[in-house]
């Protein structure tokens, strides 16, 4: 590396000499390139000033002594910049280490929380879940029962990033331990509430919507723990209504009971479940209205569910200038005609 510096130093002197004689742009372009190799080789500002002083001394052996002193003064002034530069360098390396560590954690989370979208005759399912940062604080999960029923969980940790993501792993393993058949939505929420209340920091809350779809009866049974309300699209009336559901957020009180509701799903009807990352999308400083979400959904409702959720996500991603503020999860069930 020392050889490199010598080459650049000679180069610097030649370029400067040429520039002093001609004041041409070419020399300036040249010094820009040299400057970049300085940065690449971690040459500190004081060393560059020193290089300049040496070049001057060689070019002007009779340089004014006062001027020489002024250059030494400049060199001293650069020392603190050099120190700060080295500190930034170290911090940048540390940041890269952290970033790659987080990305390993994120891919591990993806594996841990992974769920496969099941195939259910007569039901078209679409789901998209995109984290605002690397780790996702939203969670969705499908459980296909032996009786043909479909369990769907959509959850959101208040907060985002790593703590939220860690919390979600716990929820998933709690749910995995339940016997699939016997559990109703309200029983599942009641149970999870106890898990969260016991194991999670009191400042952290989890909202969840749990639904069970029974294809034989075309019936959706559901309960909500303070979760963002979903929407029901009634095909025959061509209208959306909010899915009514009341219930306390998970982890607040140990003995919470949850209500259970049901909804008949006819041909062409849709169930839309989401997290507040969807409803709290912003257009500039303004929060969007829920009508706007429904309008966009409707606009793409002729598409298969998976394409629909993808298009809706793209719409809001663009609206927010490709910078999500919160984790975004949208799930659509459509009963096929």
């Amino acid at each position: 590396m020392d050889d490199m510096i010598k080459v650049d130093a000679a180069n610097y002197k030649d370029l400067m000499k040429h520039y002093i004689e001609t004041q041409d742009e070419q020399s300036l372009y040249g010094v820009e390139q040299v400057s970049k190799t300085f940065i690449k080789n971690n040459i500190l500002p004081e060393e560059i000033v020193n290089l300049h002083i040496q070049a001057l001394a060689e070019l002007y052996p009779n340089m004014l002594e006062d001027f020489q002193h002024s250059m030494d003064f400049l060199l001293e002034a650069m020392i603190a910049y050099g120190m700060a530069h080295q500190e930034y360098q170290t911090l940048r390396e540390k940041q890269n280490e952290l970033k790659s560590e987080i990305s390993v954690a994120a891919s591990m989370q993806k594996t841990l929380l992974g769920t496969t979208k099941p195939t259910i005759e007569g039901l078209d399912i679409g789901v998209i879940s995109v984290p605002a940062h690397q780790m996702n604080g939203d969670y969705h999960h499908f459980v296909k029962g032996k009786d043909g029923s479909l369990g769907i969980a959509v959850a959101d940790v208040i907060g985002k990033g790593i703590p939220a993501a860690l919390c979600m792993s716990m929820i998933k393993y709690a749910m995995d331990s339940y016997p699939e058949e016997s559990m109703t939505p309200k029983a599942i929420l009641k149970n999870l509430n106890r898990v969260v209340e016991r194991n999670v920091d009191p400042s952290m809350f989890i909202t969840m919507f749990y639904a069970q779809y029974l294809p034989t009866e075309n019936l959706l049974q559901y309960s909500s723990a303070g979760h963002e309300p979903g929407y029901y699209y009634n095909a025959s009336a061509d209208s959306f209504t909010e899915i009514e559901s009341k219930g306390l957020v998970l982890g607040v009180s140990p003995a919470t009971e949850y209500n259970q509701y049901e909804l008949k799903v006819d041909k062409g009807d849709m169930i839309i479940l989401l997290t507040d990352g969807v409803t709290e999308c912003r257009d500039g400083e303004r929060f969007i209205e829920s009508e706007e979400i429904l309008d966009v959904i409707k606009q793409y409702s002729h598409l298969p569910s998976q394409e629909m959720v993808t298009q809706v996500y793209k719409h809001f991603e663009k609206l927010q200038e490709f910078e999500l503020r919160d984790d975004f999860t949208l799930l659509i069930l459509k009963r096929e005609v």
Partner: protein
């Protein structure tokens, strides 16, 4: 015998005195302008730490002249409050520097060897060495 000279640090003006003495020694040993400036800056940092946190202390310089090695050694000693968590003050961005690259990590970078001993309530001893390249 190696000559050794010390500067007592009590007031801010003493920081300048310590810099001056350290720079003179460095120049005599044969350090270039850039390294002289770095050594002076390291002295500043150590002397300021004494002045700000320990109130009084001392910085001593020593010329090291081995067969193939020439360098300057500086030792800063105080009987101040000491440092509780050494690894923390050696962390970048910690302490008063606030992203100015200063502080003890800065000193460590400016010099070649660095050693710190401290006991809470008793004081701190920092030794730093720079070799002529």
């Amino acid at each position: 015998m190696n000559p050794q000279s010390c500067v007592n640090i009590q007031k801010e003006w003493d920081i300048v005195g310590a810099r001056q003495l350290g720079r003179d020694i460095a120049r005599k040993i044969g350090f270039g302008t850039v390294d002289q400036a770095r050594i002076a800056t390291a002295i500043s940092e150590l002397a300021r730490n004494i002045y700000l946190y320990a109130e009084t202390g001392q910085i001593c310089f020593e010329v090291i002249d081995n067969m193939d090695h020439k360098g300057i050694s500086m030792v800063a000693i105080d009987n101040g409050p000491g440092i509780d968590d050494v690894s923390k003050v050696m962390e970048d961005g910690y302490s008063t520097s606030g992203g100015l690259g200063a502080g003890l990590p800065g000193v460590k970078r400016l010099m070649d060897d660095f050693d710190l001993q401290s006991e809470a309530g008793k004081g701190t001893r920092i030794k730093a060495v720079k070799w002529v390249r």
